[in-house]
């Protein structure tokens, strides 16, 4: 308990690092996932850019990368992280790899949510002469906005989970804090403190997501 009080500054740093890693990953991965998800949705047979060759390719790529457990992906993609960010370890490398892994997962969530938009609504937009890009930006995304917000909230929680292994490649964050100061030093209080911070973080973000989604859905 005493050592937990001594470690309080480190706990705040770890919390900040988790938010930093997850925030950037959510931004880059979210953007990549949105584009990939829109790509999957629009190239599906019968959709506005229906193209089965492109759809199959995207589909296979997503299916290959999405199921790889993140800790393995982190190790396997290290050369790529080094090539892009200049370093294979630390928070920048983690953000890069996490964004990449998240993009594949997010793409499926985006695709699923876009598929809930009634095809007739898209047809109505086509019938008034709207082009494809305009339909995506002004009809498709606004119509699916409520579920998309909930999907991204879900992804935030998943990213907190995935970011916990950052310590393995020299990154920081609450996962690293719990393992390094709690588990390895036989100090369960420290581990539980990290757990409580994560719970509070997730509750706060889920609440925010719910409020925004309710606003988008007007109910």
């Amino acid at each position: 308990m005493d050592s937990l009080i001594d470690l309080t500054p480190e706990l705040w740093v770890a919390t900040y690092e988790t938010l930093y890693i997850v925030g950037f990953s959510l931004f880059f991965g979210g953007l990549g996932g949105l584009l990939l998800g829109i790509g999957l949705y629009t190239t599906r047979a019968g959709s506005i850019l229906g193209n089965s060759a492109v759809f199959s390719t995207l589909n296979i790529i997503v299916n290959i990368f999405r199921p790889i457990p993140f800790i393995i992906f982190l190790a396997a993609a290290q050369p790529l992280a080094r090539a892009v960010t200049g370093t294979g370890i630390g928070n920048s490398a983690i953000i890069f790899t996490l964004s990449l892994a998240a993009a594949f997962g997010i793409s499926r969530i985006v695709e699923q949510n876009l598929l809930t938009v009634q095809p007739g609504v898209i047809e109505a937009a086509r019938s008034v002469g709207a082009g494809r890009l305009r339909i995506i930006l002004t009809i498709l995304i606004p119509e699916a906005l409520g579920p998309l917000i909930l999907g991204y909230t879900f992804i935030f929680v998943a990213l907190v989970d995935m970011s916990a292994v950052a310590g393995y490649v020299g990154g920081g964050g609450l996962g690293n804090f719990a393992i390094q100061y709690g588990y390895r030093q036989f100090n369960p209080w420290v581990t539980w403190a990290a757990v409580i911070v994560i719970i509070l973080l997730v509750q706060a973000v889920q609440l925010l997501g719910n409020v925004l989604a309710r606003k988008a859905l007007r109910r």
Binding site: G120, V121, A124, R126, S127, V128, G129, A130, G131, L145
Partner: protein, 342 residues
């Protein structure tokens, strides 16, 4: 020159399973629609009418044949040109297909934004349209807050936003109750009469054709089996599928089952007189029967009115001396259609 002209149009979809024959949704259809008409296309679900109407604004592309809308070829034109063409063709849908994330106002404004109108033009036009459909007070509501009839009125306002020459109505009243259906049909009539917009109505309800259309085409398995003036098709349907549709709204000649019941209840000879606008009046027919000493009782049928023109089938039980009945029927058969049922 007709406003919409389809010549030998075919639309096939690839088969569901490899190796099967392709599905012909539209099979060699030719159709001319003149400006100012309300053209009804009726058929059961799966007859191909929804596909047919989507060929007109090229939401579906024809496999072969030519489609000319307002002097412009619709088949084999680039997308950019199609989008421009669609500004001239409004469309409303069975499920309304409103943009749920947008207010009523923004739903109606959307086509104008697509057309690149200025803010002032949009303001003026949306106000005018919401007035026209009677929803000025609902401008800031969202579609989910509206009733079915109100949603379709928003759909109509949105379809009319860019002042199109043509309005395509795809089962526009099929999701509505009878009263709301008539309210929407009245509005469509106004669209045609006050704004001079040509309307193509797709429906499986003969009632819609009867109250709204001037011309009708009957579709069955991707083909048009009969087309013409609504009055002609209603008063004298030639094809079996047309007859089935007409019988849903016109109480005509009794079916064999009904005839058996009638024969049990009535003595005498059972005869159906078919009247059409321009034939002898009923009064003169009945006077003649009475003069010939034939007693008659009206046992089945009705008279219908299509835009001021009447037609109908009346089935009578005739009693009297056989010779007198025969003579009377022979005398009448030159002037109206007489059919003895047995």
């Amino acid at each position: 020159m007709p406003l919409i002209s389809l010549q030998g149009v075919t639309k096939s979809f690839p088969p569901g399973r490899r190796g099967d024959a392709p599905v012909h949704a539209i099979d060699n259809v030719s159709l001319d629609i003149e400006a100012g008409e309300i053209y009804g296309i009726i058929g059961y679900s799966g007859a191909g009418k929804s596909t047919l109407v989507r060929l007109i604004n090229a939401l579906e592309k024809a496999s072969s044949g030519t489609i000319i809308v307002d002097g412009q070829q619709v088949t084999n034109v680039p997308d950019r040109q199609l989008r421009k063409l669609r500004l001239d063709i409004g469309m409303i849908f069975q499920q309304f297909n409103l943009f749920n994330a947008k207010t009523v106002w923004n739903n109606v404004a959307y086509p104008l934004r697509v057309a690149g109108k200025s803010r002032d033009e949009i303001q003026a036009r949306v106000t005018e349209l919401l007035d026209f459909v009677g929803l000025a007070d609902k401008a800031s509501n969202y579609p989910e807050q509206l009733s079915g009839g109100q949603k379709q009125r928003v759909g109509i306002a949105r379809a009319l936003a860019t002042s199109p020459k043509i309005l395509l109505a795809d089962e526009a009243t099929s999701a509505l109750d009878p009263e709301t259906t008539h309210e929407v049909l009245r509005l469509l009539r106004r669209v045609n009469e006050e704004l001079g917009i040509t309307i193509v109505v797709i429906t499986h309800e003969m009632d819609v054709i009867q109250t709204l259309a001037t011309k009708v085409a009957v579709m069955d398995s991707g083909r048009i089996v009969e087309q013409g003036d609504v009055f002609d098709v209603f008063s004298n349907p030639r094809e079996a599928s047309s007859q089935r549709f007409v019988s849903t709204v016109v109480r005509g000649i009794p079916s064999p089952d009904e005839l058996a019941v009638l024969q049990e209840r009535h003595t005498g000879r059972i005869v159906t007189f078919s009247f059409r606008d321009g034939d002898s009046s009923q009064a003169s027919v009945f006077l003649e029967l009475a003069a010939a000493g034939v007693e008659f009782e009206l046992i089945y049928g009705g008279i219908n009115d299509i835009r001021g023109r009447a037609f109908g089938h009346l089935t009578l039980a005739l009693t009297g001396p056989d010779g007198a009945v025969d003579a009377a029927l022979t005398g009448l058969s030159g002037r109206i259609t007489v059919k003895e049922l047995s």
